[in-house]
């Protein structure tokens, strides 16, 4: 293990070109970017040392992002312009560093500080009016019991405490495939809790819950970090499935940034 001399908090965005990377793939890509840029990254302890880069939250395959957070630990101190230049040398296509903050090396780990994340997406094959009603019903519910699959197992949990906010937005017309131009499309925005105790809210779970309210199937255009392909929940043949188009994680929120806004 190399000694840690500096800790940078990177704020970064992910565009279309890197959209279809899994979390593990993107970690490997970043490590190569650091080598290309000759960035003196500190390495972890252990039999096979890894560069010390800690993401606040894994980004799902298929998800775009505008304000992600990662801590990068360096074995040598660099100035911000120097680090920015070196990052520019080798950053993978589709990733943009939008902010750099010198963080105290001894500051608490980043992941446990994460409390919430904002998402937006466009839903195809659903009218705004009915979606708004369904969203209202979800927000008004006391409990939203759901099952989530993890590998072979199925885990029961309550989605409601993870759902902080949910409302409609205008649809992202530019994102619509040409052959779906006539389908009804509605924008959706949500804030989901990230909690050490309760787990993290997943946007596709909220969409699945909405679909359940509407009696629709979901044809998800994302959300497969296990790369197992599209998920279909009870296909009801009458209406086309609810389809998620171009989901974006708008921003991650740390505890200090949202102080007092989260209850419980």
């Amino acid at each position: 293990m190399s000694e840690i001399r500096q800790r940078w908090r990177l704020v970064f965005a992910r565009d279309e070109e890197a959209r279809f990377l899994s979390h593990l793939d993107s970690v490997r890509l970043w490590e190569r970017a650091f080598r290309r840029g000759d960035i003196p990254v500190a390495t972890s302890e252990g039999f096979s040392p890894r560069p010390k880069l800690v993401f606040a939250a894994p980004l799902q395959l298929g998800m775009l992002a505008e304000h992600e957070l990662a801590d990068l630990f360096l074995a040598e101190r660099l100035t911000a312009p120097d680090l920015r230049d070196r990052l520019a040398v080798g950053m993978p296509h589709g990733y943009r560093v939008v902010g750099l903050h010198d963080v105290w090396v001894g500051a608490p780990a980043i992941a446990p500080q994460l409390v919430a994340a904002d998402y937006r997406m466009t839903l195809l094959n659903v009218e705004g009016v009915e979606l708004e009603e369904a969203a209202g019903r979800l927000m008004a519910a006391e409990r939203l019991p759901r099952e989530r699959r993890r590998e072979a197992r199925s885990i029961s949990y309550d989605l409601r405490p993870l759902l902080l906010d949910l409302h409609l937005r205008s649809a992202d017309v530019a994102a619509l495939p040409p052959d779906a131009a006539t389908a009804p499309a509605t924008g959706l925005w949500m804030r989901l809790r990230h909690s050490q105790d309760l787990g993290s809210g997943r946007p596709e779970e909220v969409v699945a819950a909405l679909a359940g309210e509407l009696g629709l199937a979901v044809n998800a255009d994302s959300g497969d970090d296990d790369e197992s392909g599209p998920r279909e929940s009870e296909p009801t043949a009458q209406r086309p499935s609810l389809e998620i188009v171009r989901p974006v994680r708008e921003r991650l929120w740390l505890d200090s940034e949202l102080a007092g806004q989260l209850v419980g």
Binding site: F34, G94, P177, P178
Partner: protein
């Protein structure tokens, strides 16, 4: 002209240049499809060192289509090299496309979207040339899938004037007859130079230009020159074979008779190309770095091309002569440059047998010194102490997985027959050494069904495997493991064994059964190949042009991705053969009389037929042929056929490169014979030229790599994540 590589802002989509510039597929349409398929990273593009150019400003456009899944295709060094060679030219562009998995095929057909290139998402049919890379017989159906989904006519005769030219290359095209219907031209041998020559010829003819609007009655656009003229011009390029200019004739009993030449432009014999300047010039520095995990996920530097071991079953060894070695300083600089340009943590020093590379010690040592954190891996099939020592030095302080040897045959006699010059004692010693140095698992590669094989030879595989296991037990007790991989001998064209038949399925099964019984022991694991898959591979490998319709029929019946066990549909293939009254067994299993005409006789890899016959005769007498790296020249015919003076025997290739600087130290490359840089450096005529001297010299020199590697390497434990993968390449071309 705008070009984008990494780190630069995107170029404007339409630069307004004079060249063909169709619109790319709309991003939302592509992304919607990608959102529905497994591993969409395979089709998304955007990899590091991928290149996007302005179509309107670029004259000739290639799409390199690799007819297998992304994970296989992106591992291919040839693709990485040619991609750079073409894209380095400002007036050329190369994009990529890989075989889509079945789920993407379904999506594409459902929505009617054509298969696209990864870089700028243009349909395949919009390119000027499709470059097909064929590394394995069983990918031939995938190329049909790709052409079909890319909107390109499947056969030469079905293609429209607007369709791209389909040009194939790669290790299996030494016999391209089975796929001849589907390709407009075939490049034999090494592609680095000829890929540019093809582009130049096509541009000079106006192939990339669109003719005046309205010239086409059918509404299709036309090119500046017709296909036939373009093909006639390509046929004049050395190493380029245009199958449609030849028509095969068969005898009444079904045997191949002869080829009729249909066009004056078509030469009687097409000889494989050899790229210039391999020794001193490295292409493929800015190698593509995949976004998702692939099979060989590392940088690669080819340190040597060709192989002089002369294993008689090995197509690669026979087809890639003459041997050329990279000058050590060139290799070291290139390896560093590749690591820098890719960010890869690991680099493979590749060749058919890297332990035979004269400078492997120097290069590995110097790379360790310069890049102590990088992992080095060296594929090798050689069985000797040097190989173990080398792997040991490279993996000091690191993990020890399995150590791989490829003795290829179980008995001494049969190893002599195939010219794999290694004794039982050497195998045992080698295994002992590997176990002593800390490896607990040894992997052994063998073949069954070799010419002249008896059941005793087969059972000898079990005997030597058990002996190796015993060695391991004494050292590591119950932890010791021996994995035995048994593949089936397949006759490869243009090898001394090209006439010898594949075993029948019953014979293979009987041999495998006998081996399984004889191998039954704790710690001994055996794996073997599907005999049906071998049969098809053998038939396609030695097939003639009649197999084109068979391939098409099998594909229409659903055969594809045949190299993948879960997709292989043998019944579809049998039905397809039967539909045309052909039999895969006749192609694969027959011992062909040496005086019979061969469907690939008009093509040459360099080695002469006389040599192949001579070497086969020695094989049948279990006599070995010397490795011409050290021993005398075996007169394989390559210099005559290719004009490449390899200098073996009298001088030995090593002497071509070994040079000592003026001050008496250091390594310097001084060029091949005839190179003016050699003047005054080395007097070749003064070099002792007897085989014995050269051999003695080799033995004497065997000490140095240990010294260099042993002491210096092992002291550098920090950061050395060694990789003892002298390995997986043994599963590739060289074993079968």
């Amino acid at each position: 002209m705008t070009t984008r590589t990494q780190g630069q802002p995107p170029s404007p989509p339409h630069g307004g240049g004079p060249f063909h510039d169709p619109p790319p597929l709309p991003p939302p349409a592509v992304e919607r499809i990608l959102g529905r398929v497994r591993k969409p990273g395979r089709y998304a593009g955007g990899e590091w060192n991928s290149v996007q150019k302005d179509w309107a400003a670029t004259a000739v456009k290639w799409c390199f289509a690799y007819p297998d899944l992304y994970e296989i295709g992106m591992s291919n060094l040839g693709l990485r090299i040619l991609y750079e060679v073409v894209n380095d030219r400002p007036d050329r562009l190369a994009e990529r496309c890989f075989a889509p998995d079945t789920d993407l095929q379904t999506e594409l057909r459902a929505v009617g979207v054509p298969l696209w290139s990864l870089e700028t998402r243009r349909p395949l049919r919009e390119f000027d040339v499709i470059g097909l890379s064929l590394g394995f017989e069983l990918v031939c159906t995938n190329l049909l899938t790709m052409l079909d989904l890319g909107g390109v006519g499947l056969t030469t005769s079905e293609r429209s004037e607007a369709d791209p030219l389909v040009v194939a290359g790669g290790s299996i095209v030494m016999n391209p007859e089975p796929i001849a219907d589907f390709v407009d031209a075939v490049v034999l041998g090494e592609g680095e130079d000829v890929v540019l020559e093809i582009g130049d010829v096509l541009e000079s003819l106006g192939w990339n230009r669109r003719a005046e609007a309205g010239s086409a009655a059918d509404g299709e656009w036309r090119r500046g020159v017709d296909r036939a003229t373009a093909l006639r011009a390509l046929a004049r390029i050395p190493g380029v074979y245009v199958p449609s200019f030849y028509r095969p004739q068969y005898l009444a009993d079904g045997r191949f008779d002869r080829l009729d030449r249909l066009d004056d432009a078509a030469p009687a014999t097409v000889t494989a190309r050899i790229a210039a300047d391999f020794e001193t010039h490295v292409r493929g520095i800015r190698q593509l770095v995949p976004n998702i995990g692939i099979v060989f996920d590392r940088a690669q530097l080819e340190v040597m091309r060709g192989c002089t071991r002369g294993c008689r079953f090995c197509g690669a060894g026979m087809h890639t002569r003459p041997l050329r070695e990279r000058a050590p300083d060139v290799a070291i600089e290139a390896a560093e440059a590749i690591l820098r340009a890719t960010g890869y943590e690991e680099i493979g020093l590749t060749s058919l047998s890297t332990a035979d590379y004269t400078y492997v010690g120097e290069v590995a040592t110097e790379l360790r010194r310069r890049r102590p954190e990088a992992i080095l891996s060296l594929p090798s099939t050689r069985v000797d102490a040097f190989t173990v020592e080398l792997a040991d030095a490279l993996s000091s302080g690191g993990r020890r997985g399995g150590f791989t040897f490829a003795p290829e045959a179980g008995s001494q006699r049969l190893r002599d027959t195939i010219n794999k010059g290694v004794s039982d004692e050497e195998i045992a010693r080698c295994a002992q050494l590997a176990f002593d140095r800390g490896w607990t698992a040894v992997k052994l590669y063998f073949m069954i069904g070799l010419p002249g094989e008896t059941m005793d030879d087969v059972l000898a595989i079990a005997a030597i495997s058990r002996r190796v296991l015993e060695t391991g037990r004494r050292r590591h007790g119950g932890r010791a493991q021996v994995k035995v991989n048994v593949s089936t001998f397949l006759p490869k064209v243009m090898t001394p064994f090209q006439w010898d038949g594949l075993d029948t399925t019953e014979e293979i099964e009987a041999k495998v059964d006998a081996l399984r019984k004889a191998m039954h022991a704790k710690g001994l694991v055996m794996s073997w190949h599907d005999p049906n898959s071998s049969l098809l591979e053998g038939a396609l490998g030695r097939g003639d042009r009649r197999l084109g319709t068979v391939i098409r029929r099998a594909w229409e019946r659903g055969a594809q991705l045949d190299a993948w066990d879960e997709h292989f549909d043998f019944a579809a293939w049998l039905e397809a053969f039967a539909a045309y009254g052909l039999d895969p067994a006749w192609y694969a299993q027959r011992d062909i009389p040496t005086d019979e005409s061969l469907p690939w006789a008009h093509l040459s890899a360099g080695v002469s037929n006389a040599f192949l016959l001579r070497d086969r005769k020695r094989a049948l007498a279990a006599r070995t042929t010397a490795d011409c790296h050290w021993g005398p020249c075996s007169n394989c015919g390559v210099p005559d056929a290719t004009g490449f003076a390899c200098g073996t025997g009298a001088q030995g290739p090593r002497d071509l490169l070994v040079a000592v600087g003026d001050d008496g130290s250091g390594w310097q490359y001084v060029g091949p014979p005839g190179d003016p840089r050699r003047a005054g450096r080395v007097d070749l005529s003064a070099t002792p030229d007897t085989g014995a001297n050269v051999s003695a010299d080799r033995d004497e020199r065997r000490g140095w790599p240990y010294d260099l590697l042993g002491t210096e390497m092992q002291s550098k434990s920090a950061g050395l994540k060694g990789l003892a993968s002298l390995v997986e390449a043994a599963g590739g071309e060289s074993t079968g």
